[in-house]
Symmetry: C2
């Protein structure tokens, strides 16, 4: 079939998506040669496909002749069930939580072996943090990651625990045994904590969003300066807001808008693309398979 | 070249992007036959390309066997300069404006002949409105649209004024002459108003974001119930917040993060794709060409 064999084992579409993937890091704009390097494609191929993507609006040209992600891609991405469904359902409760805490409030999901931040509400005067919507954070060094991990199936937890746990600060928990114990505690008490484990001077408290009959894959957190006191003082607020989002999601479920994101079930991506751990038809391996969280 | 001629005048990539475009409306999920109908492609072609997009993560499968926009597309879209740059710079000031008003606060840009909503902060108890991030609103019936239109170049204004102006309510301004006069007033006083012109019972007040040396294409607004009093009472707050975002954007300019979005310059898309009005190298036609707004 034409379009499937213009290069060794990569379709035209796979080449085009590899160009888009090159923007998944922190660089806002990339030159033609940056893109050729990142994708391993000839510059002529990148030029042609990037031109088509610009014509569509998925990319746009920058002043310096490079490329940036275009408005059309953002517009269509905003229709994802994560943004359109989960985020929209959660926003009022995140805003309430922000009103109470006046600290960063985050909404996140597991994607692959990372935390993917879906939303972040910040006070202009709040402590500087690294996360932004669309950004990724490590599971083991953030409260939101630990809350998600604690609610995951044992085999997924094990797959994370057996990998090297990167030390971001002197306080990052890098022992699989210690992390495993912390996850059990988080599961028991309904919230997880991070005390300067990703960024010095920054602490956080998180809880997963549960909905009756659905496994949790979303979590919310409050992130604040360490000198504001122990993060667990926000535990009641965070768990209450998480429960409210879970309750609201039940009302949305009829519409199909967010149940999928909350179950993690729909992301039937090809194994190995790093996105989700299940393939179509099988229950996701990070689904909570035993008892409800909390 | 393979991949460019498997159908009449549409490349493989154009077919794939037409599948993504089918999600730009309000439908969260679409079946294979919905997609075939929307794109005009054979079901077998949709099946193959949608399968590739699922493998990448740009689409995901839904429980009922349909397709929805995937997390990967959202993640990469979040890297657009609009989201990563403009939105991020504006957020603290939008949050301040929300704190003062406790009404919906919106950030929007012109895209084609529409308002494209970039961000919306809402109080859980605020009045119901139609807009959501990634959604489109009419230029002539919203305060944010009128503010953007008032700051646009005369030829762009004229192109909007000579089109039929849809009446959404009995109060929508549908006379080109009356709208033109309103735009002149908005330009003069620095803010625009909508009084139940899009939705009965809802009013709004908006101001464009200006930055020295850059033409405005972004605007912010406050949207509230009509029974809260005249929307112009928030004019000072809205114009102050807009000015603050413009000032902050100057500091960002060195990084190249948002200057492009504010000038409208980078969106060098193929004319006719409905995205922006300029082509590469020419100044955008909706750029303010005479004197600064306000």
């Amino acid at each position: 079939m034409s379009g499937n064999n213009s290069g060794p084992r990569r379709t035209v579409l796979a080449k085009a998506t590899s160009i888009l993937d090159a923007f998944a890091g922190n660089r806002v704009s990339m030159s033609l040669s940056d893109l050729a390097r990142a994708t391993g494609l000839p510059a002529s191929t990148v030029h042609r496909l990037a031109g088509e993507l610009v014509a569509w609006g998925g990319l746009e040209r920058t002043e310096d002749g490079g490329y940036a992600v275009g408005l059309r891609l953002w517009e269509i991405g905003a229709r994802s069930r994560c943004s359109h469904g989960l985020r929209e359902t959660a926003m009022p409760f995140l805003q309430d939580l922000f009103d109470v805490t006046r600290q960063h409030v985050q909404l996140a999901v597991i994607d692959g072996n990372d935390v993917l931040l879906i939303e972040k509400i910040s006070d202009p005067r709040a402590v500087g943090t690294v996360g932004r919507p669309g950004g990724r954070l490590p599971l083991h060094a953030t409260a939101v990651g630990k809350a998600l991990l604690a609610a995951s199936a044992p085999d997924f937890q094990a797959s994370i625990l057996c990998r090297p746990l990167v030390a971001y600060t002197p306080y990052t928990v890098t022992s699989a045994h210690a992390l495993s114990r912390e996850l059990a505690e988080a599961r028991e008490r309904g919230f997880a904590l991070s005390t300067e484990e990703l960024t010095m001077g920054v602490v956080s408290c998180a809880s997963v969003v549960t909905s009756p009959g659905l496994a949790p894959t979303a979590a919310i957190s409050v992130v604040m300066p360490a000198d504001c006191g122990p993060p667990r003082r926000w535990a009641h607020s965070v768990t209450t807001a998480a429960a409210a989002i879970g309750r609201a999601s039940v009302q949305q479920r009829g519409s199909g808008a967010i149940s999928a994101q909350l179950t993690g079930a729909p992301a039937s991506r090809t194994p190995g693309t790093g996105a989700s751990l299940e393939s179509a038809g099988r229950p996701p391996s990070n689904r909570v398979s035993d008892k409800p969280f909390r």
